[in-house]
Symmetry: C2
Subunit: 152 residues, 2 copies
């Protein structure tokens, strides 16, 4: 068994800051969205993707890929969103297996309000506290991470 390539002190410091910071940031945003708008982060993400799609609707599989969620999880989450009347499911003309998720007007309204608060939180605890050059570096770095995950 070969000795693992442990991280050096500098790498470890960055890695740990990231792990801890992102964990706490996510929790804050989740609590925030939940208390003010009754949405979890993953519900919010789904509404965002739908709102940006043509006709505010997407096939389930596409939506799942878009939001980096499993199909099962999306299915459950959509059921909850549907019971809150924020999303409607409809069938797909060309593919009888297919299902469209469609953002309702109420869903759009809820999202609009939530987004206004959310962006303020994103600024307060992320964008505005990070040096713009470091923010660029984060963009580059995580794009590379995504690329490596895609080709995994």
């Amino acid at each position: 068994m070969t000795e693992p390539r442990w991280l050096d002190a500098v790498q470890q410091r960055s890695w740990r800051a990231y792990v801890d910071g992102s964990l706490r940031l996510t929790e804050l945003m989740d609590r925030d969205l939940k208390s003010k708008h009754g949405l979890s982060i993953s519900e919010y993400e789904i509404l965002v993707r739908l709102s940006e799609a043509p006709e505010r609707r997407l096939r389930m599989a596409e939506l799942a890929a878009n939001a980096s969620q499993s199909r099962s999880r999306l299915s459950h989450t959509c059921s909850r969103l549907e019971s809150k009347a924020l999303v409607e499911r409809g069938s797909c003309p060309n593919d009888k297996r297919g299902v469209y998720a469609h953002l309702t007007d109420e869903g759009f309204a809820v999202l609009e309000r939530a987004a206004r608060d959310h962006v303020e939180t994103v600024r307060s605890y992320f964008v505005d506290v990070i040096d713009p050059q470091d923010l660029d570096a984060i963009g580059r770095a995580f794009s590379a991470v995504i690329k490596s995950l895609d080709s995994a």
Copy 2:
């Protein structure tokens, strides 16, 4: 109601890369640790903190703060770890309310094996795909995020 300060295109690109990348990275690591070593990420984190503490033990509250988890969550997770014999709970001499969580020898052995794999994953999908200067930037940036969360 004032117009929110929306993110510009560059900021948004970084923010989204981070959100998506970190979500997917966490999921990969969770699945990886679970399949190879039967540990979830948060179980792993707890074992790490314990392994680094003097005498491999910590008070529950300290451990919770250390791992950025709620006390409730830690309590549940510890129960699971205890039932796997990786952690033991013991009472605290000075404070009768207090409970020590203590890493067992078996817990240490499991952690050692898991860490060897884990560091390899951290390298493959994070450290080694990121430019060292960008990695530094991540360290700076998330330290600032943590600071802003602390003073919130």
